[in-house]
């Protein structure tokens, strides 16, 4: 009496499990994701925070001339969602917080080729190698320090110096942070895997402290837990906006000499081939590269604008062309797998 029932339920549940497998084999053929409502609406998947970009996306709606819907999420998760949606994606435009997620979409071939006029707005270093995404704003890796503990001229000029004995137990960083991992990937590209692995091992052996993200690292510097921290420049400005400048003690040091620690990563956009909203999306990209939008990134998000001849207006921020960042193909930063394996081997994540 029991056997047949259990057997039947097993069969039913197994069938339920196999259904998607079978169906997914067929789904490659039924191209076309016909039900596109995209003609009148531009859907933007934004991996950038709503607080930071909503005002400029509101203006974008007027510039594009169609209704704009924005879906906010996490860059990596939205990229995974777009890949899962496949040719029936709802997204017309992907606005990513980093080059990595854009590079991953580019690799899967879901991004549309951008016209040369658009690409030429931005320096070659800050756009996709295949011409299917373009950077909008840049953020630079810096060393933040606590001036009560370290004088400005003592702050190291290279990430290679922070593994020296004098900084034992005094350095903080966020190993799971995407920008940190992008920096390690950049270092691998510049100096090779062996040198990078050695640096990571030295960093760990030197008692560097790990934090959940850049803001936590900055807090640790403020609290005097560590003297130095490897962070992105604009987090400092976020903290200042949150607490007021007089309450933020930490200071930033920009690294000279094309040091790998001075990597510039970008936020950027790519148009989805299968979103069926190319025309509106193209207008949106042009708007985001326009003077108005670029000035917004400079003034409001405290990043470096990458196009339209706009320069940063933030007080105390070194001019973009004075930054001595390393020469790296950002499109290649999408391959974080080996970086992650290395960080795991070394025991940092």
């Amino acid at each position: 009496m029991r056997r047949p029932l259990a057997g039947r339920i097993t069969a039913l549940l197994a069938a339920g499990l196999l259904l998607p497998a079978l169906a997914s084999c067929g789904s490659d053929d039924d191209k076309g994701g016909s039900a596109k409502s995209g003609d009148s609406t531009l859907v933007i998947y934004s991996g950038r925070n709503e607080k930071l970009v909503e005002p400029i996306l509101d203006k974008l709606e007027k510039a594009v001339g169609t209704k704009v819907e924005v879906r906010y999420g996490d860059s990596a998760e939205l990229a995974a969602q777009i890949l899962e949606e496949g040719d029936r994606t709802k997204a017309g435009l992907f606005f990513s917080q980093d080059a990595g997620a854009l590079g991953a979409l580019s690799k899967e071939g879901v991004l549309e080729q951008l016209p040369p006029s658009t690409l030429d707005e931005v320096d070659e270093a800050y756009r996709g190698g295949d011409g299917d995404w373009v950077g909008l704003s840049g953020r630079v890796r810096v060393i933040a320090y606590n001036p009560d503990q370290v004088d400005e001229d003592e702050v190291p000029d290279s990430v290679h110096d922070v593994v020296k004995p004098e900084w034992k137990d005094k350095v903080g960083f966020a190993p799971t942070n995407a920008s940190f991992q992008a920096f390690v990937t950049g270092m691998r590209a510049l100096e090779g895997d062996d040198a990078t692995r050695r640096w990571l091992e030295d960093l760990k052996a030197n008692g560097a402290k790990t934090y959940a993200h850049n803001l936590a690292t900055l807090d640790a510097i403020e609290a005097g837990e560590v003297s130095l921290g490897l962070v992105n420049h604009y987090y400092w400005y976020e903290r200042v906006a949150e607490k007021g400048e007089d309450k933020v003690n930490a200071k930033l040091h920009f690294l000279p000499g094309k040091d790998p620690g001075a990597l510039i990563n970008v936020a950027g956009v790519g148009i989805l081939k299968d979103g069926g909203q190319s025309e509106a999306a193209q207008k949106a990209v042009d708007f985001l590269l326009s003077k108005e939008a670029q000035t917004y990134f400079a003034d409001t998000t405290k990043e470096y604008p990458l196009a339209a001849g706009v320069t940063s207006t933030v007080e105390g921020l070194p001019p973009f062309d004075s930054l001595q960042s390393p020469d790296i193909d950002l499109g290649k930063l999408e391959s974080l797998q080996e970086t992650l394996a290395m960080l795991q081997d070394v025991g940092l994540v």
Binding site: L19, P20, Q81, E85, R88, L340
Partner: protein, 533 residues
């Protein structure tokens, strides 16, 4: 109507029928393996299939590049190490939750503790605190709290209500007559509790412990802030690092295997004994146990738990509100977001309850392999990280329910997939306490299985089922990863606003949303705490 018929019946007829009836219900306990009626089986299979969706997705993704690739990912020595870390954390949190949950449930339900109802509500409230908020407030206060200890602390403090609620509900449902009988036989109050009452709480406590275990396995927020690397964090990092869904899926399969093992282990500890009352009349509330000189320590214990689990996060939120310059009370926005949150959470809880009911009844009443299979299926995906479940629903909806994609019904379905076990556990524990003989008698009187379910089982189990529904309601309110991916474009819940604000680094601006979330969750908690059968 019925009475008239009986009186007109010939005098001799009822006796043999009555004897048959008695025989039918005497036979019942040995008849446990009989087949559940279709009216339960069919909807239970539907619910189980629903819960298996993520597994179907994982099978597709994990095997995308062949079994060898998936095996290489899983067979890495790091996998074993991460499993050990995850299981260690789970064991510690479960043990701590059992201590907190059972002690608070007993104190608030069965003793003359002053303010018992208020303490009961306070013991439910931590559930409304998202794990990453708990972790964050602790880190802000004690920067050195990170690592294993910090993760265990934060997770215990947000998840002990999973044990407290079902145990308290079970305590209310237990017939005090048994304990009184034990006392009349010369056992002291403590001994009577340990020997008679505690074993009856085992199904509720074990069910709660299982939920805590699965919650800990699936948690990402607290462990990532506390920098304690667990299996789930590895799954997340894998999505993030490579944008390649295959390794993440292969690792997720390991979590599923672990879940099934845990569910099976829990089923073993449950034992074979049923714990329903069999006496005549109705159960009445137990006479409260006088605490005597234990009153002060008991109060101190409750106050300490309430202080660290509720007052501390709330006061930290209050602190952010006063210090941060980004704190603004946009009342209109807050009210709108709050009502959206209430709406989707209520719909999620309702659907989950409907789906969980047949599974819970079968799990409580039938013992065959089929019944076990159904229950395990319902739990299978519960230890999966939210992002995995969310991506699986993206996968299915885009292929088979495109018109529903990124619309409310799909989000509600996601909540049901995610939280089915929460309601199944509560339902099963509640049904176990409903006397089985009443169902058997109703059956022998010719009621159909559906009518027995509607007129006997559900009313008897209703308080426990309602508790499960309320619990689900609260966890739906704070759900984040699936809500982010599946919500209609432009829709916000309190949890997504919280995420937006903290993502921009404005913790003060996040505080109103966190506080509202906790205050709203207080409503079902208050009702649960007040509720007496």
């Amino acid at each position: 109507m019925t009475t008239t018929q009986t009186t007109t019946r010939p005098a001799g007829a009822p006796a043999p029928a009555g004897r048959r009836r008695v025989r039918a219900y005497l036979k019942a306990p040995s008849d446990r393996d009989r087949r559940p009626p279709l009216v339960l089986l069919v909807p239970a299979c539907v619910a189980a299939l629903f819960a298996l969706l993520p597994l179907g997705y994982l099978a597709v993704r994990a095997l995308e590049r062949g079994p060898q690739y998936a095996w290489d990912v899983v067979a890495d020595e790091r996998t074993l190490q991460l499993l050990g870390r995850s299981l260690g954390l789970t064991a510690v949190v479960v043990a701590a939750c059992l201590v907190l949950g059972v002690s608070l449930a007993w104190l608030t339900v069965r003793t003359a503790l002053p303010g018992a109802r208020a303490w009961s509500v306070l013991a439910t409230l931590p559930l409304a605190v998202p794990s990453y908020v708990a972790a964050f407030v602790w880190l802000a206060a004690v920067p050195g709290a990170s690592g294993f200890g910090g993760a265990a602390l934060a997770l215990t403090l947000v998840s002990f209500p999973y044990v407290h609620l079902p145990v308290a509900a079970a305590l209310r449902g237990i017939d005090p007559a048994q304990e009184e009988a034990a006392r009349s036989l010369g056992h002291g109050a403590v001994r009577a509790f340990l020997r008679v009452t505690l074993p009856q709480l085992r199904p509720a406590a074990a069910g709660g412990a299982l939920l805590v275990a699965l919650y800990v396995l699936s948690d990402f927020g607290a462990v990532s802030l506390m920098r304690y690397d667990t299996f789930t964090r590895a799954v997340h990092t894998s999505y993030r690092a490579s944008f390649d869904r295959t390794p993440a899926a292969a690792l997720s399969v390991v979590l599923v295997v672990m879940t099934v093992a845990l569910v099976a282990a829990e089923a073993r500890t449950r034992g074979r004994a049923g714990h329903a009352r069999t006496g005549g009349g109705t159960a009445r509330p137990a006479a409260p146990v006088p605490l005597g000189r234990w009153r002060i320590p008991a109060l101190a214990w409750c106050a300490a738990v309430a202080a660290v689990a509720v007052a501390f996060p709330l006061s930290t939120l209050g602190y952010w509100l006063t210090v941060g310059t980004s704190a603004t009370w946009d009342v209109g926005d807050l009210v709108g977001t709050a009502s959206t949150t209430l709406g989707v959470a209520a719909a999620g809880a309702a659907l989950t309850t409907v789906l969980a009911l047949p599974v819970g009844v079968i799990a409580a009443r039938y013992r065959g392999r089929g019944a076990r299979l159904l229950e395990q299926a319902a739990y299978a995906g519960h230890a999966l990280p939210g992002i995995t479940v969310a991506l699986s629903l993206v996968f299915f909806a885009v292929r088979y329910a495109y018109p529903l994609y990124q619309r409310l019904p799909l989000l509600v379905c996601a909540y049901a997939v995610l939280f089915l076990p929460v309601t199944v556990a509560a339902t099963r524990a509640a049904v176990l306490q409903a006397p089985r003989v009443l169902e058997d008698v109703a059956r022998s009187l010719g009621r159909s299985p559906l009518r027995v379910l509607r007129e006997v089982t559900v009313p008897l189990a209703a308080p426990g089922v309602a508790a499960g529904a309320a619990l689900t309601f609260v966890v739906c309110m704070k759900e984040l990863p699936a809500t982010l991916l599946l919500r209609p474009t432009g829709m916000d819940t309190l949890a997504t606003r919280l995420w937006t604000e903290t993502g921009a680094g404005s913790f003060a601006a996040a505080a109103p949303y966190a506080a509202t979330l906790i205050l709203l969750a207080a409503v079902p908690s208050y009702l649960l705490g007040r509720h007496r059968t």
